[in-house]
Amino acid sequence: MKRRFSIFVLGAILLGGLLSSGLAQDGRFDGQTVVVVTQTGRSIGGPVEDFAPDWEAETGGEVQLQQFAFGELFEKIISSFETGAASYDVLIFPADWAGDFMGPGHLEPIPAELQEQLEWDDVVGLYGERLTAWGDTVYALPYDGDSHMLYYRKDLVDGPEYGAEFEAEYGYPLTEPQSWSQYRDIAEFFHGRTVETAGQEASIYGALEAQRRNAQSYWVYLSRAAGYGKVPGNPCFFFSCEDMTPQVNNPGWVRALEEYIEIRDFGDPNMINYDVSDTRSYFPAGQSVLNIDWGDVGTISIDEAASIVAGDVGFGVLPGGDEYWDYEAGEWVTPMDGPNHAPFIAFGGWIIGVAADSDVTEAALDFAAFMAAPEMVKQLAVTGGTGINPSRFSQLEEVDMWVEAGFDRESAVDYLDAILNTINHPNAVLDLRIRGSAEYFQALDAEVSRALVGEIDAQTALDNVAELWDGITERFGREDQLDQYRNAVGWTGM
């Protein structure tokens, strides 16, 4: 922790110096208070806590941070907008909620000068063009680039010890899993086995996945569903772009849920209560061989205070499905060139927006730009625990930065490759970002949760979800939703 901390301090000083050389220390926002709202915890909110004092010192403004548990964040923000309470000035929120925030005009458009100041071209395509904008207007600043990826103990998987035994049992070489069935096999193979971790012999779980209700675990499920349900060439994954029919209960999705349930047999029995904040603590503590999570695990794995597996972690693109369900053709398709990788841009990332009903708009925009500044996010991305993952080319190309942070060169390249391949993948799946997305996901989460504990089976659960989704769509207006969805995924009308 000490080394991390001192890098932080150094970074903060550097940043302070860099920024203050650019901005006048003129107290131009003297006496103004900017209220920032985001989720609780050190992740995402932590950087605001740490660096707000610098901004305050320069501009004379004051930053107040209001945090909520993730499960309540959406309703608090939307409430503030719709009840006219205007409680928050700066919002750091999941890009998924764009439909509800940007669509109805609750956010302040980002001025072109600010975009230039923030070097918009440096931002990876998806984040800069699609996720922070609605239609043609940019309403938010990219902050955290999100996508799900695969983590695995490469010392065990790629190492010499178990290859032969595995191959004898399963019929193919033991290596980074490319498909979900390989992932499952590896989990089964290692589950309960006594292996060596950081010099100690201990039994290990096959896989660790977040499965807690009302948290962020349903994205882990969606990562699986992508592999089985995303049709290459067709951007419409959650719904059919013809008529907004929910795809959530098609055979691809159902199979994904069945496997998500099955993985419980090869994982920590308590994962049913773990959210990602738990699994990304336990995996670096050496408790499992496999893990699916956002990019945070990478930086946590090299933090000596939190990880005992530094250097032993392999990074990969999400496994794909051996076959996928083509819902337009109504059949399973086995791709010619290997498993159907469909990296899931889970969450879309946290982005920073300014409320249109704020009464300190200028100060708010300034602070938002401060937090989203290229140098700032670069620093945050390499620091474990901040929750910030790369969203800019510069972050992904400067390997040295990562090596300095503590990665060994090989791992750094592996990590960055995995991320780049994920967010630039032609078959990448965008998360759902239309109006009511929080509601759609809540419905999904509740039913998936029930299936996970065996209350109902996978098909029934997803049928329920489909019905609920239709209800939500009807309530918002099917035509409207269809329009939004088509726009959101960039459907060209084929």
Partner: protein, 286 residues
């Protein structure tokens, strides 16, 4: 016989100590956990500071430096709302309780007399907040009361007033009427008799009501979460907010919880007899 009594006493002590342990141990755990390092928690459970683990004050430091503004804000709001609601409940409750004790009412519309009215008032205490979620949301939005102290105070009064009426009425019933009457003979008005004679004599009842109202308002979560965003947000919301993202940070939550719980625990410890008396009043009558 002596032997039996000894046995009995020993058994009694045994249970008392056992149950006291069950009650107190979680608090002890909160205190020690707030001084543990994350590794100490993960390796846990560890019980005794200095013996099992090396205590650290860093979480408290974090709480009082980086988190200070946040905690203070929530604390201050909790205080304002609790005090305000208590005041309102005591005033309205004492007045209504006095009325129900000294006058005869008869509501033609429902045919209720004092007992019926009192019963109706008290029954409001048991209505589920869930039934009021929607109308309050709409009402407060329209009236601009969202995220205001007064808004939350009014909402809490809905629960505190019935209880106050119940306790105060019971209390006033136990107060002989002679003093008021002789004051009125001397020319005092009803109101003067109430405020100058009756109220001072009712201090125990008022204290009991105040304590209960304060504790309820301090601990309430649902309405606070629903009706406040930032300006009036209270401590329970802050604590609950640590739920998922910091769910694993026991050390931080313990420290925060202690801060939130401390005022009420202190009130309870020092004013226990009022609480007990308040609980027993009215309920014993059945």
């Amino acid at each position: 016989m002596h032997g039996r009594k000894m046995w009995r006493l020993a058994l009694v002590y045994l249970f008392v100590i056992f149950w006291s342990f069950i009650v107190l141990f979680p608090f002890f755990w909160l205190i020690t956990t707030s001084f543990k390092t994350p590794i100490a928690v993960a390796r846990g459970p560890l019980y005794l500071p200095f013996i099992d683990f090396a205590p650290t004050g860093e979480h408290w430091e974090y709480l009082f430096t980086s988190q200070r503004d946040t905690v203070l804000r929530h604390f201050r709001n909790s205080l304002i709302v609790a005090l305000g609601s208590t005041l309102l409940a005591v005033v309205l409750g004492a007045m209504a309780g006095y009325g129900l004790s000294r006058f005869r009412y008869h509501w033609r519309l429902t045919g209720w007399r004092n007992d019926g009215i009192a019963f109706w008032i008290i029954s409001n205490r048991f209505l589920p907040p869930a039934a009021f979620v929607v109308p309050f949301l709409i009402l407060y939005t329209t009236a601009g009361l969202i995220d205001t102290h007064i808004g939350l105070i009014i909402a809490y009064t809905m629960f505190n007033v019935p209880f106050a009426v119940w306790i105060m009425r019971d209390f006033f019933n136990g107060l002989p009427i002679d003093l008021e009457e002789s004051a009125r003979v001397d020319g005092a008005t009803r109101w003067q008799a109430f405020t100058r004679i009756v109220l001072p004599l009712s201090t125990p009842g008022i204290v009991a009501v105040s304590i209960f109202s304060f504790i309820f308002s301090w601990n309430e979560f649902l309405y606070a979460l629903m009706l406040t965003n930032y300006d009036a947000i209270t401590l329970p919301v802050l604590i609950a907010g640590q739920n998922t993202n910091r769910g694993i940070e026991w050390w931080f939550i313990s420290a925060l919880t202690l801060v939130a719980v401390m005022p009420v625990v202190l009130i309870g410890l020092f004013l226990e007899r009022f609480i007990t008396r308040g609980l027993m009043a009215g309920a014993v009558k059945g």
